[in-house]
Every structure is written in structure tokens, then in C-alpha cells.
């Protein structure tokens, strides 16, 4: 629908496009917010949220734990915690940011709890099937040059599709810091890519 409007062209068309996009965005945000409230009592709402955010939550967890099975547990725990939320404003809250904040807190908690065990493991848990192992190794190799915060920033930006402002809120730091971390991370990764070539 948005694409149709964009093809109209002309000054008026542009204005219509802007309004349309804004309204759609708000609608989607408020629907996520409503789902967060409803998922405390509705399995269907929980399932919708799960399908919408499973990948992002996993990505956030993986960027912190760097362990496939631990990240899987984080996904489960994050959604279980969402069903126990008591205070969330449907009208003004940022649903996506809220979910990913919960995910980040869960992952940090799990990492702290299992840090010693993970550190003692010679081989990190990359999952069970061949494809998963391959992907895990690829991502770990790619992100290993980054420090913890840079890694989280890159994953939140690339895999969770968040804005710098949203990331700043999730990571509890100034927006300018997020931007600079992201820039530094990309610069490091580019150098690494150059080395590989």
C-alpha cells in the first residue's frame, strides 16, 4: 500500500506518503504495546509477539552470551517474563524497546550466572546441526574483534533494526555514545574484512 502511494509522485503525493507512513508506524507500535499487555492472559497474543520478536530477542541474547543454547534459554525466559509484566503503558510505551530491554537484562543475567561454566568450556556451544554450527562460527568470528558494548550495538542496529535513539534507551547510555560505538565497530569490521580479503 505504501508503495502504491509512493508511485503517485509530485509534491502532494510526497506529503500523503509521509502521513501514511507515520500513521502506519504508530499503528504498529500501538499494536505491539497492546499485545504486551494482552499476552499476560492470552496465548494467542503471546504467540504473535513471539513470532514478531523471536529473531531480534535471539540476536540480542546471542550478542551477549555468544552461546546458542544459552541464547535459546534467554528467548524463552524473555517471553515468560513478558507474561508477568504488571506495569506497561499501552499509549506511550515503546513496546519493541521494552521487549529488547527485557531480553538484554535476561541475557546479562544468564551470562553472569553461567560465566564460569562458559569460560571453562573449551568449545562454545554452537548448536546441534551443521548449519547452526556454521552460522554460529561465522557470527562469532565476525564479531569477535568487537568489545561487548560494540557487539551489542551492532546487533541491535543490524539484527533488531533499531534506531540509535532506541538503542540508547535499551543500553542506558547517551545517543551520541551509541553512534560513536557503532561507527567504531563498523570501522573495525571493515579493517577485518580487508585483512580477510
Amino acid at each position: 500500500m505504501e508503495a502504491d502511494i509512493k508511485t503517485l509522485g509530485g509534491g502532494d503525493g510526497q506529503i500523503i506518503t509521509v502521513f501514511t507512513q507515520k500513521r502506519n508506524k504508530d499503528d504498529s507500535e500501538s499494536s505491539v504495546n497492546q499485545l504486551i499487555i494482552d499476552c499476560t492472559r492470552s496465548k494467542e497474543c503471546l504467540e504473535k509477539l513471539y513470532l514478531m520478536f523471536k529473531d531480534s530477542v535471539f540476536a540480542v541474547a546471542y550478542s551477549i552470551t555468544q552461546d546458542y543454547h544459552l541464547s535459546e534459554d534467554c528467548v524463552a525466559e524473555t517471553f515468560v517474563r513478558l507474561t508477568r509484566i504488571k506495569r506497561f503503558s499501552a499509549s506511550k510505551g515503546d513496546g519493541k524497546g521494552f521487549i529488547l530491554t527485557v531480553a538484554r537484562n535476561v541475557a546479562l543475567e544468564y551470562r553472569r550466572r553461567f560465566k564460569r561454566e562458559v569460560a571453562n568450556d573449551i568449545i562454545q556451544n554452537y548448536g546441534d546441526d551443521e548449519r547452526t554450527v556454521e552460522d554460529s562460527i561465522y557470527i562469532n568470528q565476525l564479531l569477535k574483534e568487537l568489545n561487548d558494548k560494540q557487539r551489542q550495538t551492532v546487533v541491535l542496529k543490524c539484527c533488531a533494526d533499531m534506531t540509535f535513539k532506541q538503542i540508547a534507551k535499551v543500553m542506558k547510555c547517551p545517543e551520541s555514545t551509541v553512534k560513536s560505538r557503532y561507527q567504531k565497530a563498523i570501522a573495525i569490521l571493515k579493517v577485518k574484512a580487508g585483512d580477510n580479503e
Binding site: 513471539y50 535459546e72 552460522d135
Partner: protein
């Protein structure tokens, strides 16, 4: 960094996203989630019963419909019943019941302030909401400040014991004169200290000594937090991780906290900072027992909740962030920062229990920076400055940091001698040198400068030497106006190449 157009690499983003999605595609834990989130199997049971009932043709009234029916009945009664005096009395009672909780808070404030010692703050609601962390770093404003209630004020009552604030607190929002008829809302933390609670706290001489040691340790920990989270740039400013210049400060909040199980005296470490190009402040509170204080109730006069429901309504200028605080880490021998205590410098003015906005300037232009409200917190306030700062390379004989308090217009200066910290290099001023020639010294700020040649032979240069009476590195600074430079000389090293040219 103002620019939002961060250069990104779409190919890289796409690749990472695809790999991560491919990795998470194998994750399927929804059954596990529902098993934990909705543990009972009663749902299935209910379905069966419902189905059976439907089969039998019996219509089951749902609870929602019952509620709707009851509400409709009440509405019908209210519409039909004549407005007699009994009815008016009934309505008044309903109203009174709504107010009773609000009134109980007000009554308690009146009783408590008669019997016990309270510190009372009175300020505009907008100020309290904006700078709540400066009033009490452990709790936020309990009233909604997002509206345009510009004349609304807040009176905050904090119970104290031996001049130490506790978490037994009350607040009243009002307009105009402070009297019952002008009250808008009231809040309480629902904490009550008994005589035994307070007498159990150790305020003996030994206790005070132990507390003083704890305070010193807290001060060291605060400095460590600063060292760990901030950086110094080549212009002598404190910066964040991304190089943004900022003003950073800290203070200690001493308080007595009671919860269901314990009564403790806590020292909370508060670090806050403001980027030069932003208006918001960022802060973090650390401490073993730095509990957040919850306002238990905040009610309008009609009994409805006055508590801000989200961040947009609390109106705060302070954004909570999480600074690194590795308590186990050994403090580094090399420090980046020193500090000055604005309320303890010899020129500073006596502090009152009011919010001050400093306009801090090295030159004509000052930067706004708010201070904590209580005198005790003010006295523990430190503003951080890199060890290598403008005072070292300033061509002025007595460079100062000028501070004006915006609210009062009172100004005072921080001199070199007010700077503290193990890494701070103090300078003293030598007189301008008169006799001699410049043949022995090729003045070039980019070349090394040999202090062993002696300064007495040079004319026209102002030379400042770091304090000879203390051990450690010394800085030799020289300037003839346009040209200037400095050199760091360590103990035992008569000569070391110049680090940098002063800007």
C-alpha cells in the same frame, strides 16, 4: 555528535542479519514458554466444560456480562431515584470515602512534623520534576509534571535523624499559599521509623569514626568510577567514550533506609554529567544498599492516582544510565583526573539547602551545571578536571575557573591551588626574567626545552614551574605571547622531550 547520517554498510548489515536469522530459525521454544507462562492445564478443562454446556444448549453468562448488567442496574437506579437529601448524603459519603486516603496523608504530615524532625523543601513542581535527582538521588518526583501547571509547587518533607535524611518522606503539591484548600495532591513513602529503629543506629564516637572511614573509602570509589568511565582529551576537558566534551561531577548521599527487614545507614555514590552540547543530564547511583525509594501512594484530592505513569510525565532532566563500577578492581596508580570541591574552595560561598545552577567558565562563556540541594551533599560535591588542564598551559599568571551561581549572581573563582588529586600538577609563578640573552635557548615550541639551562637568562618569557616543594613530575611552561610550550620533567630526569605544544 549531531549528525544522524552515520555511514553504514548495507551489505554488512544484510549479511549479519541473514546469518543471525538463519541461526535463530532453529529456535523453537514456544511450547516451553507457554508451559511456564500458563502452567495450569485448566484451560483445556474449561474448554471441555464449555463445550458440554453448549451441547446441552445452556447459555453461560460470562463474568463480563454480569459486570455490565450490574453497572447498567446502578445507572438505572441513579437515574430513577429522586435527588433527596438522603441521596445527597449518600453521594457525599462516596466522595468522602474517595478523599479519605488523601486526607490521611495530609493528617499524617501534620502529626509527624509536630512530633519528629523534618527537613522541609519548597520548590516549583517543574523544578522538582526536572532536578529531582539533586534533591534525592534515590527517588523521583511523585507528581505529574508534564502539564503546564507552571504555578504548581511542591513541599517535600524528609524525616531526619541526627541530620541524616531517611526514606520516611511526604510530599504535597499545591498552588498559591500552602493551605488545605490549595492542595492538589499528596504522596507518601509509607515508611515509619520507630524509636527503636533509630536508636539501633550507631551514632556513638566509634560509630562516627567508622562512618568517617567509610566516607573516605566511598570518595576513593567515586574517583575510581570517574577514572573508569571518562576520558581526558588534549584540550584538557573531560570526555565520554565517544570524545564528547562534558562536565562531570559526583557527590555522596548519606541516608537512612528502612525496608521490611532492615534499617541501614547508606552512603550512595552519585555520578552525574552533562555533555557540553546537550541540555539533559545523565546520572548513575552506586552503593551496596543504594535502594531506589518508592513512593507508595500519590493521590489527587479525589483519591485518584497522581503518580506519573511513564517517563514523559515525570518531566525529569536526568536520564539514568549504567556506569561501570568494578568494585573489585584495584585502583590504577596513574590517574587521569583531579577535581575541585566548589563548596570547599577558599573563595566559595556558604551553601544553603537550595538548588544552585553553576555557570562554569574558563573564559567569558559559562556552562550551566546544577548542584545537589542539601548542604551536606554540596560539601561532598566534586567537579572533575583532567590532570592536564588549561591551568598548566594558560598564559595568565593566575588562571582560574570562574563560577557564577545563576540564582544569586554570586561569583567565585577556583584557583590552581584549589585543584586536588594525586595526578594534579600545581604550578607556581616565576617572575618575568630580565637579564641575559636568548642565544642559549632556541625558542621553538616544537623542540625540547632544557630547563637545566636555567631560566634566569631569558628575557621576556613568562615561566611557570610546577611546585618544587613536592616530589613528582614538574611542568615547565614558557610563553612570550604568541609562542608557548611546556615540558614535563620527571624526578631524576633532568631533561625530557616536550610532549606537546600548548594550543
Amino acid at each position: 555528535m549531531k549528525n544522524d547520517d552515520i555511514r553504514i554498510d548495507p551489505e554488512f548489515e544484510k549479511e549479519l542479519r541473514n546469518k543471525m536469522n538463519s541461526l535463530s530459525a532453529g529456535v523453537n521454544c514456544f511450547d516451553k514458554i507457554t508451559a511456564q507462562a500458563f502452567p495450569e492445564s485448566e484451560t483445556d478443562y474449561e474448554m471441555v466444560v464449555s463445550d458440554v454446556e453448549n451441547v446441552s444448549g445452556r447459555f453461560r453468562v460470562t463474568p463480563v456480562m454480569k459486570i455490565v448488567a450490574a453497572a447498567a442496574a446502578v445507572v438505572a437506579c441513579l437515574a430513577v431515584i429522586p435527588r433527596t437529601s438522603a441521596f445527597q448524603s449518600f453521594l457525599a459519603n462516596v466522595n468522602e470515602n474517595n478523599n479519605s486516603e488523601f486526607r490521611s496523608i495530609i493528617r499524617e504530615i501534620e502529626d509527624e512534623t509536630e512530633i519528629n524532625t523534618y527537613k522541609v523543601y519548597d520548590m516549583a513542581l517543574s523544578d522538582y520534576a526536572k532536578y529531582n535527582i539533586m534533591y534525592n538521588p534515590l527517588c523521583k518526583c511523585p507528581f505529574r509534571a508534564g502539564n503546564d501547571d507552571t504555578d504548581a509547587r511542591v513541599r517535600l518533607f524528609v524525616r531526619t535523624y541526627n541530620d541524616v535524611p531517611t526514606n520516611q518522606m511526604y510530599a504535597v503539591e499545591y498552588t498559591g499559599e500552602y493551605k488545605n484548600t490549595n492542595f492538589i495532591a499528596a504522596a507518601e513513602t509509607d515508611v515509619r521509623f520507630t524509636k527503636e529503629d533509630l536508636e539501633a543506629l550507631d551514632f556513638s564516637d566509634e560509630g562516627i569514626t567508622a562512618f568517617s572511614i567509610a566516607e573516605q573509602m566511598t570518595n576513593i570509589e567515586l574517583d575510581n568510577i570517574i577514572e573508569k568511565n571518562f576520558y581526558a582529551d588534549r584540550y584538557g576537558e573531560v570526555t565520554g567514550e565517544n570524545g564528547t566534551q562534558l562536565t562531570a561531577a559526583s557527590y555522596i548521599y548519606d541516608s537512612i533506609y528502612k525496608d521490611a527487614d532492615h534499617v541501614n545507614r547508606n552512603l550512595s555514590k552519585v555520578v552525574y554529567f552533562k555533555n557540553f552540547d546537550e541540555t539533559e543530564y545523565y546520572y548513575d547511583v552506586k552503593g551496596e544498599n543504594a535502594h531506589e525509594i518508592d513512593w507508595k501512594r500519590s493521590l489527587y484530592t479525589d483519591g485518584t492516582s497522581a503518580m506519573p505513569t511513564d517517563e514523559d510525565e515525570d518531566g525529569s532532566m536526568f536520564i539514568k544510565i549504567s556506569l561501570d563500577d568494578d568494585a573489585d578492581a584495584e585502583s590504577s596508580e596513574e590517574t587521569k583526573f583531579g577535581y575541585y570541591e566548589p563548596y570547599n574552595s577558599y573563595e566559595s560561598v556558604a551553601a544553603d539547602d537550595v538548588l544552585n545552577t553553576f555557570q562554569i567558565g574558563y573564559s567569558a562563556e559559562g556552562r550551566d551545571f546544577v548542584t545537589p540541594v542539601s548542604v551536606k551533599c554540596k560539601n561532598s560535591m566534586k567537579i572533575y578536571i583532567p590532570n592536564f588542564n588549561f591551568m598548566i598551559y594558560s598564559s595568565q599568571w593566575d588562571p582560574t575557573i570562574n563560577i557564577t551561581i545563576a540564582e544569586t549572581g554570586i561569583s567565585f573563582k577556583i584557583h590552581d591551588s584549589d585543584l586536588k588529586g594525586s595526578g594534579i600538577m600545581h604550578t607556581h609563578h616565576d617572575t618575568a626574567l630580565e637579564n641575559g640573552s636568548d642565544t642559549k635557548f632556541d625558542f621553538n615550541p616544537t623542540l625540547s626545552f632544557d630547563p637545566s639551562l636555567g631560566f634566569d637568562n631569558f628575557e621576556g618569557f613568562k615561566i611557570k614551574v610546577s611546585d618544587d616543594s613536592v616530589s613528582g613530575p614538574k611542568v615547565y611552561f614558557f610563553s612570550d605571547g604568541d609562542l608557548s610550550g611546556y615540558q614535563l620533567v620527571n624526578d631524576g630526569d633532568e631533561k625530557e622531550s616536550a610532549d606537546e605544544t600548548a594550543p
